[in-house]
């Protein structure tokens, strides 16, 4: 692309790394003064611009001085290795052996989490430094990678339909059989899971729930309803009794269901029971996180062991930090007032 002085400076300004607005303005003013001085001294404009080099190259020099990403670029392999080890370690600890993902024993929670720790930063680095593209492109791509990871990790919990009784072992066990193979699950829960999977209506489910209520409470099992009348049955796993799926440690599990029969009486009775259980559980197990997607009127509940909570906290932190970082990379606004303060 053939630049004029103004287009050159505009391009350069858009490519400068993480600088504050006064810093950007100051740098561009310096370049303008320098180039103008050379032109005044008799060097043709295109010759001066050619000597300076492409805006991407010039801007790149400033990464040493100012850019947060310079640190990342300099230590890219160490950084990526650290993030990969962190992601692998956390996932292994929380969800088990990665081989279980490959052979389909557990859903690819691993891969979703890796998207936060590795794919996002790598994608950003690749597009910024290798493709030398405008920042808006890597910004959008990274944003969608983060969003995808976020959605894939969280939205499956919102899959419960309001049709026939539906059990959605969204997070870990993929089938009822897998769910029932949980070593920590005792007979009442097996019955409950089976009934939930096969129940023709809520009455059948309620009956079973009633008969197993005491066992459920004793084992810190947890029932919640949302406004739609559907609910989530959550099985908190204590650290001392981790669940096992096909030999792999599983730290949490959620069973989501919906009712065909929204009998108000039955629902009210169930809600009372839920409150009792809630009150009991909340005294002993406060680590309940409520999350509402905003996309659908479902309330999603996680009741996680400590290790899984760390992963979730990491995801949310990564998402928020990622969005913040990307926002800070937005190209500078045009036509702003220049700051002339001394930077001494």
């Amino acid at each position: 692309m053939k630049h004029t002085l103004s287009s050159y400076l505009e391009d350069l300004e858009a490519r400068l790394p993480l600088l504050t607005e006064p810093q950007r303005v100051e740098i561009i003013a310096e370049y303008r003064a320098h180039i103008t001085a050379e032109i005044t001294a008799g060097t043709p404009e295109h010759e001066v611009l050619r000597k300076f080099g492409k805006p991407a190259k010039v801007a790149h020099q400033f990464y040493t001085t100012y850019g947060v990403y310079e640190w990342f670029r300099k230590w890219q392999f160490a950084t990526l290795a650290f993030m990969a080890i962190l992601a692998v370690g956390m996932n292994w600890y929380a969800f088990g052996n990665p081989a279980k993902v490959l052979n389909g024993s557990i859903p690819p929670v691993w891969l979703w989490n890796l998207s936060y720790f590795v794919i996002g930063p790598m994608g950003y680095w690749w597009f910024t430094y290798r493709c030398r593209s405008q920042r808006v492109i890597p910004m959008l791509i990274t944003f969608f990678v983060l969003l995808l990871g976020f959605a894939m990790t969280n939205l499956p919990m919102a899959n419960a339909s309001n049709g026939a009784a539906n059990v959605n072992f969204a997070l870990l066990p993929k089938t009822t059989e897998e769910a029932m193979s949980l070593s920590a699950v005792s007979t009442p829960l097996e019955q409950l899971a089976k009934a939930a999977a096969n129940a023709a209506d809520s009455t059948q489910f309620a009956k079973l729930l009633s008969s197993t209520q005491q066992a459920v409470v004793d084992q810190q099992r947890y029932l919640r309803f949302d406004r739609t009348g559907s609910g989530t049955f959550l099985i908190p796993m204590t650290e001392s009794v981790p669940a096992k799926i096909n030999g792999a440690t599983v730290n949490f599990m959620a069973v989501r269901f919906a009712f065909t029969d929204n009998s108000k009486t039955a629902l009210a009775a169930w809600k009372r029971r839920a409150r009792d259980i809630d009150s009991l559980v909340s005294q002993t197990r406060p680590s309940v996180i409520e999350f509402t997607t905003g996309l659908r009127s479902y309330t999603i509940w996680y009741l996680l062991s400590r290790s899984a909570s760390w992963v979730l906290a990491g995801q949310y932190f990564g998402f928020v930090a990622g969005v913040g970082l990307l926002a800070s990379q937005l190209p500078p606004r045009r036509n702003r007032r220049r700051s002339r303060t001394s930077s001494a």
Partner: protein, 107 residues
């Protein structure tokens, strides 16, 4: 054999003789080195800003009639100290090289 120039040290050296703006700094380095050091413009300003962040130089904007304003740099006391360090290091280094490269009888 080539010796890699230290742009930041050279900037401190030319600023020791007076306040200069970016374009002049580059010209001074070229002229006073007898065109030995020809640093690209793209390297100059990041180096200047680095020195400024380190507190070795400071700057102020000077308005010019009919021309873009200029940022003029000057050495700070810390920068003066850093320059002395560079001079001492260079004196030691160049003396060592001179002893090795000089005539045999001089040793």
């Amino acid at each position: 054999m080539t010796f890699k120039g230290d742009l930041k040290a050279l900037i401190l050296a030319v600023l020791a003789d007076g306040d200069l703006h970016g374009y002049e700094i580059l010209k001074q380095i070229r002229q006073r080195s007898g065109q030995v050091f020809k640093f690209g413009e793209s390297k100059l300003y990041p180096a200047l800003h680095g020195l400024e962040l380190d507190g070795f130089i400071a700057a102020e904007w000077i308005e010019q009639e009919g021309k873009p304003d200029r940022k003029v740099y000057h050495l700070t006391p810390t920068g003066q100290g850093k320059l002395e360090e560079h001079r001492a290091t260079w004196a030691e280094f160049s003396a060592g090289v001179a002893r090795l490269f000089g005539p045999t009888e001089a040793r």
